[in-house]
């Protein structure tokens, strides 16, 4: 079995085993088994990085086997510089999420842990799939575990959120399904992405395909104005669900733009880039302002996710190496930072059972260690130099200034909004005098929480101070992608 198959199937198989044999009266054992499984899945992914050849733009660790012969579908896997870090991010976040659930989840522990492990494998599958239908199957299969995670362990309005999540994202991706079938027929019976990338398509076909892909990926990213599901879902999802949703699931959509829209419909992408950039700017500026007025911490971070993902899509559609690399770096950085932000909210929520900013104040007095972490992640969220959040946004802003000064200006101004809403929340929650008895009785984080947050803190700092390993990996792949996206595929 190839390395990528191991990366995909290790968590899925172990997750299914935990699901099948775990029981609530042996919850302790289930937790350790889940942690072991997540760590093993992470270790299985590590050789992908150490054996990765930075100088090659082609797909690596390729596995290609026939899957469904009748439709010529293949079990075709591979990673390049664009997807490598996303695979690693997924398995890393899974470890963190499993630690985060340790004492919090007491009911149906095996189902919770199993769902996250299976979800992790399925999401890695999305990043590795090189067959259109394999991609789609993995892409959609993420819905089932997430639906159950939100619906079973979510907040008071969980059912609304679970349905909104499922139906909203299914709606987008069904249009992509029609597009995939169209491409299958146009290409004479192939689902291979490489074949599709070389397939000449008329301008009209490209436009239709582009918007079908757009429907699927923009909802997932989510881009303004189809972002409305995200705040609702985040608010109701359990902490782990929010962390995985923000850290990895949103990236599935952004990744889809890079794998499908840009290389398969390059002319339409160039033609409609203005629209995508315009929507991204709205996300960055307007949604940033919306975030500022939120009363609910999770909603605030959710809107801030929309704004940060706006940088990602903006970077992609400027068609410059700096923009696309910046977008990818921002994806990974946001993966670490948003997971950390949600886990911090989870730490507070576990103690006080409130997400309202007004329920807190002066937390630093009772939880100094925790506040140090929270502050670090907040700084990363506003893109302070030296943290992960800075690198990607800086690259995108540089690219934007080159592309169009006013666009760069607008993007840069968004950094100010980011700082404003994050720091204002930090001020109201953590600083100042202790506001009520609940805050007075807070206990600082225990060893488990300390360990969990320090894992993320290390990731955030390392990525901010030494981003070279992240960018080196992707350079050649990004150059190749830009080349693909700039060659017209219109039939002569």
């Amino acid at each position: 079995m190839g390395m990528l198959s191991q990366a995909i199937w290790t968590p899925i198989v172990l997750g299914v085993l935990i699901l099948a044999f775990g029981r609530d009266d042996k919850a302790g054992l289930v937790r350790w088994a889940a942690l072991f499984s997540a760590l093993l899945s992470f270790l299985v992914c590590l050789p992908l990085y150490t054996h990765f050849d930075n100088s090659s733009a082609s797909m690596q660790f390729v596995e290609n086997m026939p899957w469904v012969l009748r439709f010529n579908m293949a079990y075709h896997l591979g990673v390049d510089g664009i997807s490598l870090w996303l695979v690693l991010l997924t398995s890393f976040i899974t470890v963190v999420v499993i630690i985060s659930a340790w004492e919090v989840i007491t009911e149906r522990v095996n189902q919770y842990m199993g769902a996250f492990l299976i979800l992790s494998g399925v999401m890695i599958g999305v990043f590795c799939a090189l067959d259109g239908m394999l991609f789609y199957v993995f892409f959609e299969a993420t819905l089932i575990p997430m639906y159950l995670i939100i619906g079973i362990w979510g907040g008071p309005n969980k059912i609304y959120a679970a349905f909104k999540f499922f139906l909203y994202t299914l709606m987008g991706s069904l249009l992509m399904l029609v597009a995939l079938i169209y491409l299958y027929i146009q290409s004479g019976g192939s689902f291979d992405l490489v074949v599709w990338q070389a397939l000449p398509l008329s301008a009209r076909a490209q436009t239709l395909l582009f918007f079908a892909f757009f429907a699927a990926f923009a909802v997932k990213v989510p881009m303004w104005p189809v972002h409305t599901w995200l705040p609702d879902v985040h608010v109701e999802a359990p902490t782990g669900g929010s962390a995985v949703l923000a850290a990895v699931m949103l990236k599935l959509g952004a990744y889809g733009f890079l794998r499908f829209s840009l290389p398969i419909t390059p002319d339409a992408s160039q033609q409609w880039a203005w629209l995508l950039i315009a929507l991204s700017v709205v996300a960055v500026v307007y949604v940033g302002l919306v975030a500022m007025v939120q009363q609910d911490m999770k909603k605030l971070v959710a809107y801030s996710s929309v704004a940060h993902m706006g940088f990602v899509t903006m970077g992609f559609f400027m068609f410059s190496p700096l923009g696309i690399s910046g977008g990818i770096v921002q994806m990974i950085a946001h993966g670490f930072v948003s997971a950390a932000m949600f886990l911090c909210i989870g730490v507070l929520y576990d103690r006080v059972h409130s997400r309202e900013i007004t329920s807190y104040g002066g937390v630093v007095n009772t939880m100094p260690k925790f506040t140090a972490f929270a502050l670090l992640f907040a700084m990363a969220n506003c893109g302070l130099p030296g943290t992960a959040g800075f690198v990607g946004e800086w690259m995108v802003i540089l690219a934007a200034v080159k592309f169009n000064f006013w666009l760069g200006m607008a993007a840069a101004s968004a950094l100010i909004f980011g700082a404003a809403y994050t720091l204002w929340m930090v001020k109201r929650v953590y600083f100042g005098p202790v506001v009520n008895d609940e805050v007075k009785q807070l206990t600082d984080i225990n060893a488990r929480e300390f360990f969990m947050l320090s894992l993320l803190a290390v990731a955030v700092m390392v990525m901010g101070l030494y981003p070279k390993p992240f960018t080196d990996v992707m350079n050649t792949s990004v150059d190749q992608l830009i080349q693909q996206a700039s060659v017209s595929k219109l039939p002569l």
């Binding site: 499922f166 169209y182 027929i185």
Partner: protein, 495 residues
């Protein structure tokens, strides 16, 4: 070929007939309340018939017999094999339920079901208008009696009455259409009719009028809107074990009937019946999905969902011939066959769980009765969820590939109307996802109404787990079943 009176082609039917009669008589001396001997004999019969059919099917030969009246080809044999397996599963799931409701007082449940299966076999093997009609009547007459098996139950009796009246009407439609085709072509034999129609010398108006009635009859049996009225009432009113029987295996026979009549017999008229099927498909998808949303009774909701699923089968059937060109026919019809088989597999799982949840004096047929099933029995909730997600067409389950293949067949016709219908079907499957998700929501997110654990025999648990596992496995590796359907349909078209 005419003087070929080989018995080999009908061995399975003969075995089934003899054993059904034998079991009916043996049962007179069986006194145990659960009729273990009758059950054992029936299962043995079914198992041996299934094995014979599988051997026939995998040998890949096509036999005509009784002066071309019956045919034994790969498609028919596989369908018969799957129908037999479906009936076996029905027996396993249904036995505790039927026994609890005093429906085993006589052995009729077993014998009538075997006769119904025999009817399906005849329908599937028929190569002649009348033989197909006879098979259909044998199936439906047995089904009417089965629905009415619980005489003292008002709902069941009402359902049986509705089923009988509407079913008889449908049979009348079908027979009327067939007689018109007979009048126009002078033959009841499918291949002769095919040839006669293909010459183009037969009066077109008469043929088309006949086709209209035939299509109406088929739509009735399939439960396609606007001929779907009986489906919700019968599904809801019949005892659940009988609903399982009606909703499972006979769909395979209905598919075979559609293939025999419309494709083997009337393919030259495809341009006419494809248009009718397209109208039916649109109305069926719309009616089935929208009505299912409003239901609170689980069996009734599943009835409407069945109607909606039949819309997808029709989509497969109407994509075969493009501008008189039959190149894509095998692709389209095999996709419809794959859809039907995966639908039956999934339906068995869904009704199996409903059957298990029913207890003495409690039917468990409201959606709310499933509340908190996950905490009462994770296995059953898991099987139900897998089957419902599959019906909704979520990837990695067999239902997704079923929908994918029919929609692919539709888009491959390349006509603008087809692409429009594809987008409509996809939108309707989104509507469908809503009501399936609602049931899953009730099972997983709502607190249980009772703390009673769900108990079931080891055999039922095993078969149910196998059923759910197959839905999942065929979703991961659908290639084998797809190839089987494709080969079977290619052979059926070639002969």
């Amino acid at each position: 070929m005419i003087d070929n009176f080989s018995w080999v082609a009908v061995y399975p039917e003969i075995v089934l007939l003899i054993m059904a009669c034998l079991i009916a008589m043996v049962d007179l001396w069986v006194t145990t309340p659960r009729r273990n001997l009758t059950y054992g004999l029936s299962m043995l019969t079914l198992a041996s018939v299934a094995i014979i059919q599988a051997l026939y099917a995998s040998s890949g030969t096509t036999l005509y017999s009784f002066g071309n009246m019956v045919v034994s080809d790969a498609m028919g044999n596989w369908l018969k094999c799957f129908a037999t397996l479906a009936v076996m599963v029905t027996f396993v799931y249904g036995r505790p339920y039927v026994a609890d409701r005093q429906m085993l007082k006589g052995g009729e449940w077993y014998t009538l079901t075997l006769f119904a299966l025999l009817g399906m076999f005849v329908m599937i093997s028929g190569n002649n208008f009348l033989v197909i009609y006879l098979g259909l009547e044998l199936l439906t007459l047995s089904s009417y009696a089965l629905v009415a098996l619980r005489r003292d139950n008002g709902n069941a009796t009402e359902a049986a009455m509705k089923y009988f009246v509407l079913g008889a009407l449908a049979s009348g439609f079908l027979l009327y259409g067939l007689s018109m085709l007979y009048g126009a072509t002078g033959s009841l034999d499918l291949s002769t009719v095919f040839m006669a129609v293909a010459t183009g010398h037969v009066k077109h108006q008469v043929l088309v009028l006949g086709v209209v009635f035939v299509v109406c009859g088929i739509a009735f049996k399939l439960g396609a809107a606007p001929f779907h009225m009986w489906v919700p009432d019968v599904y809801q009113g019949a005892p659940t074990a009988i609903t399982l029987l009606i909703g499972g295996a006979p769909k395979l026979a209905a598919f075979a009937m559609m293939m025999r009549l419309l494709v083997d017999g009337l393919l030259p008229l495809a341009i006419d019946w494809q248009q009718m099927l397209m109208v039916l498909a649109v109305v069926t998808l719309l009616m089935g999905n929208l009505s299912a949303i409003a239901q609170t009774n689980l069996k009734r909701m599943l009835a409407f969902s069945t109607i909606a699923q039949m819309g997808f089968v029709l989509i497969g059937m109407l994509s075969g011939v493009v501008n008189g060109n039959t190149l894509s026919a095998a692709n389209a019809y095999s996709s419809a066959m794959f859809y039907m088989i995966s639908y039956v597999l999934t339906t068995l799982g869904v009704f199996g769980v409903i059957l298990l949840l029913a207890r003495e004096g409690f039917e468990s047929e409201e959606i709310a009765d499933l509340a908190g099933l996950n905490s009462r029995s994770p296995l059953f909730a898991g099987v139900m969820a897998v089957c419902l997600f599959s019906l909704a067409g979520v990837p990695q389950l067999v239902g997704f590939f079923a929908k994918l293949s029919v929609i692919q067949a539709l888009v491959a016709t390349g006509q603008p109307a087809a692409v429009g219908l594809a987008i409509f079907a996809v939108a309707m499957s989104l509507v469908g996802a809503f009501y399936y998700l609602r049931v899953i929501k009730v099972m997983y997110f709502d607190p249980p109404l009772t703390a009673a654990t769900v108990s079931a025999g080891a055999d039922v648990r095993f078969v149910l787990a196998l059923n759910g596992g197959l839905v999942l496995l065929l979703g991961l590796l659908p290639g084998g079943l797809m190839a089987l359907c494709a080969n079977a349909v290619v052979q059926a078209l070639g002969s």
